[in-house]
């Protein structure tokens, strides 16, 4: 997956977890929780979906790496470079 695809993958996960949020206007380098309603339970779901869909493990002490779409891409790129994008699952 490329950086762009990882961002798509994250957005797709967020749209599954929070179907009522509008993700079209998200700014990539701003914190997600400053732009849409996401609490710590929701971040757990992002982590669980990453594991379920891509087999990627994010340890609890590294949840902070998922704060913005940019930091997600930076953090996940080495873990997901060899994975295929799966959206709409």
């Amino acid at each position: 997956m490329t950086r762009e695809e990882i961002i798509l993958a994250i957005k797709d996960i967020i749209s599954t977890i929070a179907p009522d949020e509008d993700l079209a206007g998200l700014t990539e380098d701003k914190r997600l929780r400053d732009q849409i309603e996401l609490d710590s339970m929701d971040f757990l779901d992002i982590v669980m979906e990453l594991r379920k869909r891509y087999g990627v493990q994010v340890p609890e002490e590294e949840y902070g790496e998922l704060a913005s779409l940019t930091s997600c891409a930076n953090y996940l790129l080495p873990k997901m470079a060899d994975k295929e994008l799966r959206v709409g699952v």
């Binding site: 977890i17 179907p19 009522d20 309603e37 609490d39 339970m41 757990l44 379920k52 340890p59």
Partner: protein
Amino acid sequence: MPHYDTILIGAGMSGLAAGIRLAQFDQRVVVLERHYLWGGLNSFYKRGGRRFDVGLHALTNYASKGERGLPLTRMLRQLRIRHEELRLGEQRFSEIAFPDLRLRFSNEFELFESEVRRAFPGQMDGFARLVRDVREAEAFTPDDTNLGARAVLAAYFDEPLLIEALMLPMCYYGSARRDDIDWYQFIILFRSFFFEGFSRPEGGIQPLLELLRKRYVDLGGELRMRCGVEAILHANGKLTGVRLDDGTELTADRVLSSAGYVETMRLAGLEDTVQDAERGQLSFTEAIFVMDTEPAAHGHEAAVTFFNDAPDFRYRVPDGLIDTRSGVICSPNNYAASEPLPEGILRYTNLARFDAWDALEGADYERAKHKQVEAALAVATRYGMDPRPHEVFRDSFTPITVRRFTGHDQGAVYGSPVKRLDGATCIDGLHLMGTDQGMLGVIGAVLSGISMANRHALVPR
């Protein structure tokens, strides 16, 4: 025998919600339920061709669709259920009633505030401070879980009747403590009543339970009914599995139990570690009347009426079978609905004494039930309508019924007075959820299952 990631004891709200969370993330999970119906304390039964709800008076924590940051919204998101699927109808209003006081409240906080202002004009500074503090408190991570609300309220108000009027509904809807309620529980309930409000799922508790059950099973979760747990198995302080009533043993990485703290310790063979103060005592009777008329046609428009027929409120195990002085009257008719209910329903709840009911047998028990309903109505009808002239059917239950169907000792509806917010027990891999983890009401129970599943079964170690 298969090995489970997680075994859930009890198919109540917390067990089903935890099951959904775990099945959603592909855990091998089973819910074990001794009874033949799911729902636990919030269940339903059929009698006389009708379906009756057991626990549900009102669904607290009302939130409209998309309303942010509220418990109901978080619950829906975690379970991936759409708001529309709940089909919630909002209450007309509810009320707190004393001999010379009536405070109405609805899902608009302004009504309650104006009612308090009308009745207690000199207490509004304290009321404003209370509202601000309740709004801002970190109730889910309290510093002191022992602190009682009665002592805290005395710092806001010098009018004892207002303190009693606030204690009455909070105790009835969630306290396991004699004459008091934990302050953090008071905060959570105050928000759920007055900031958020009451609603009712159309069709009552059964469609809501069916939504959870179906979602769980569709996700691949296993649900075993009439399948009681006889023992929780552990070795060297670590959980290994459970033994069922039929002797079968199931192994698992962990167990989340909604059986109650004392009951769970007993299943683990550790009842000798339980303190007397940890045993729940408070139980209730309830009389249910079906009528050939709507309560509102007779001026009974409240969804829920909390009444206390004296200036001071006592919330404790009564000396006799029931305490008629205070109680709750509720009517499912007094909520918005797409079509009105076919019949009028009124339910009357009173505090009751388990061991007094337990001492009665056969015909004596039935006679006592009938007599106590009449005694309860003698007082309750001062605060709500008398259903008897319009009665087409009646039923009632006692603490004995509660114990039989929920397995909770003493029929203790709100469980142990000592809550364990982290769900921990002395066994590694054995955790609590539901009433004794400390979350109250239907939404609280669901959130308890969700948060305990997240914390103990999903967050990677």
